[in-house]
Amino acid sequence: MGTFEFLLQGLVVAAQPINLFYALIGVTLGTAVGVLPGIGPALTVALLLPVTYKLDPAGSLIMFAGIYYGGMYGGSTTSILLNTPGESASVVTALEGNKMARAGRGGPALATAAIGSFVAGLIATLGLAFIAPFVVKFALSFGPREYFALMVLAFVTVSAAFGDSTLRGLTALFVGLALAVIGIDQQTGQARLSFGIPDLLDGIEVTTLAVAMFAIGETLFVASQGSRVPEKVEAVKGSVWMSAADWARSWKPWLRGTAIGFPIGAMPAGGADIASFLSYSAEKQFSKHADEFGKGAIEGVAGPEAANNASAAGTLVPLLSLGLPTTATAAIMLAGFQQYGLQPGPLLFATNPQLVWGLIASLLIANFMLLVLNLPLIGLWVKLLTIPKPWLYAGILLFATLGTIGANPSVFELGILLAFGLLGFAMRVFGYPIAPVVVGLILGPMAEQQLRRALAISQGDVTALFMSPIAAVLFVLAAVAVVVPLVLRARGRGEVLSQFAANED
């Protein structure tokens, strides 16, 4: 069967009323959390994991993917109207979008963001459907050492390649890896780093860590900043419809943004934030209206918004076909798969095609839902922005602790939540990135398993790891991704990289 047949079958699964319902909940929630500053899709999926434990796996995963897509749409609204990005991938959108809103062109800015997200989401989801089977075929030839090399590459790109400091990225990663060691060793059953505490034998829950780092760490950080920055929500003035000139200036950035975002998401090369920054600088170069950049150029909204949606879809390529998460949200979605005893990867396409293709097809449907939610209903989301900060963050902590208590109602788990919340706060204060910790925690045990398998096959010979051409190439890429940014920063060219700071989502 070709991709088309699989996709059609997937559409049949996705069009079941119950799955449409899950998709609708997902995109609605996703848009809401995208709009609200302080919470992103990674946190939301982490909060929902315990709640969805008893639901149907396909439905829950469709919902999670809807949240991911919705978060990318919703973030643009906050960036444009509030000048505070709703999630990290929308930082650039604020540059031009907020200027447009202040000039009374908020409507067209929101429209080009939503339509651009739609175009990019559609193309990139189709890209996912057609590329994933090839990656799966390729990945079937992978052994433990290739997987290990792939994970090392993912570690490096998530932590060290982008952002403003190799040191702080790597430190965050190693903290995550250290946390991953806690608990019973999968192969020998020995307890590691648990100090005789029974609660630690199962290891640190990914959801607890994510909720603590993202929700509590962020809340404490925002609180510690005081009320220095006055925030003003720009009213949407005038029509949300774009003029002919707006269309003419938008369609090329949409397509370019998609072309930039999808490969960046699909390769383990970092998240949507990097894609949106690259797209922004590309648009600045190509635009005939370069002088308008910084004053509200529509290209600067259209391109990055398309790029961040395309890269969200791209991220699903390594997640579904290799089981490799490259962003915090993908890492938590992986935890979602594991919750149902499913391991994403080449085998999942063979053993559970309805689920995989149903998920991919549901993303196409989710995209249409999101277009409707984000254009005609935009006024509803703008209201969310007027919630006063004290109530907003009090509510965030209510739901954050709800997820943890629901998963494990113990005082110990809440203590861990508080401890990691404080860690997340301290890391923010000192400028450490958060995503590498989460990715290290979830990918650490998998990398260890592959490494030990590979070394068992080679009977302990470490050089054997580099003897396969694919693994060798991946290791070289990983080394390049550490060394090149270091050299660039040492020569004072680091500003470019710090703009690409990979952040939470």
């Binding site: 780093l193 609180a223 009090a394 902590l397 208590i405 809440l414």
Partner: protein
């Protein structure tokens, strides 16, 4: 210009707060190394075992600790905004209060307290409004997630008052 120079000179001073991070990382590395060495003593028949990865992680952390000390000494850490500790203390008190009250007082009261203290930290000082609001909201959440979605949220006096069986 002169302002720029003085700011640069200021930045190059050792960053004391950041300098604390290095020993913390070193301590973490030492704990992991110690724990892993205990393991390898238990199964020293294989070169690659449960202690391999912890050893690598500990080594990595130790190296990063040295690097951190170096950067902190040179003042290479980014400049920090001054932080206000009072709101942070209130929110942490809320989280700690919820943790301690969860068992004896149940989900709604414990979480209501967290809600009120968080709002307090963000500047809503009227506890006689925010505490009841928080408790009612938490109770509604308890009904939806605890009763309808069957999540095991601890019940206390308030929950027992409305739902005798739980």
């Amino acid at each position: 210009m002169s302002e720029d120079v003085s700011r640069n000179a200021e930045r190059r001073r050792p960053d004391r707060a950041a300098l604390v991070i290095a020993p913390a990382l070193l301590l973490l590395a030492a704990v992991i190394w110690w724990d892993a060495s205990r393991l390898s003593a238990m199964s020293n028949y294989a070169r690659i075992g449960p202690a391999t990865v912890p050893h690598v992680v500990a080594l990595g952390l130790a190296l990063l600790a040295v690097w951190t000390a170096f950067e902190a000494w040179r003042g290479d850490f980014p400049e920090r905004e001054p932080i206000e500790t009072v709101p942070v203390v209130w929110i942490v008190a809320g989280l700690a209060g919820q943790m301690l009250l969860l068992r004896p007082a149940g989900f709604s009261i414990a979480t209501g307290l967290l809600f009120a203290l968080t709002a307090y930290g963000f500047g809503r000082r009227k506890l006689w409004i925010s505490l009841p609001v928080g408790i009612v909201l938490s109770f509604l959440v308890w009904i939806v997630f605890g009763r309808l979605l069957q999540l095991s949220l601890p019940a206390g006096p308030l929950e027992h008052l409305f739902f005798r069986g739980s």
